[in-house]
Amino acid sequence: MTRGARQRWVILAVIVLAQTMANVGPLGIPAIASLIRDDLGLTLTQAGSFLSVYYLGPGVLLVLLGIAGIGHGTLNPASTTAAMSWFPPRQRATVVGLKQVGLPFGGMLGAALMPALALRLHWRWAIVVGALLIVACAVLSASVYRDPPSEAPLRRAAGTRGVVGEVLRSRDLWLVASATLVFAAMQTVWMAFLALTSRGRSGSRCSRRAAIWRWPRRAACSTR
């Protein structure tokens, strides 16, 4: 294996690791929601909404959500740029597909780790451990990642000037962005309303069809 090929595999590992770790916390927290609810004495309605708003207030919560969004939001553009820079066009779709594996894998890892940590330590410490894992992964990524040799001079010469305008003026990018808006809306509507539709049709409190589609929310469904 050539040095370049070896480096590409390292970059792919960094990309997948970053995508995985970034989702351990966000997707792991719902797994310990019942512990948080018991500890803070929240009702089901309160637990179903943003938990922290009851303790931090909406202003602080918005600021924290903004900070978390800036951190989490940079992940996809950065990892996609890395995939585009290091891999030839023929391999990019596969690399982006592998990158996306990190999302459910991070959720699996979070759902396995967070309850164990919360029961052993405390749910607050479980969240701290999740956050520290993300910070450690960010430091590791920053220290391991390098732009490919052929890409670095191009990036330095071009800088970022003009790129935003170029993207905003692109008809094709706006078409794809609009399509993602439609598909994201559809996905959310399916998740939110399919169970309700099934429930209305069967007349049962929590139909079998609804239970299949909403199995992660089975506990919430059974309490209705």
């Binding site: 740029t81 993207v167 609009s178 509507v189």
Partner: protein, 69 residues
């Protein structure tokens, strides 16, 4: 989007997608819920949603993609 923009603008293009798609996540469910209330049932809104998805696919059909292989 990254492929359309090329390596130099890939991050910015993905950022554009990430900025636009949450609007659908935020607006989709309340609009659908309002449609269900207005229609008095789910049948019409589900059919409408499938037509919206077809419109989304139609948007993708208009994209001029260059062969990159």
């Amino acid at each position: 989007m990254a492929e359309l923009a090329g390596p130099r603008a890939a991050g910015t293009a993905v950022g554009l997608g990430l900025a636009v798609s949450p609007l659908g996540v935020t607006l989709g469910p309340p609009v659908f819920g309002w449609c269900v209330t207005a229609a008095g049932g789910y049948r019409g809104p589900w059919i409408g949603l499938s037509l919206v998805m077809l419109a989304g696919l139609g948007l993708l059909a208009l994209v001029r993609e260059k062969s990159r292989f």
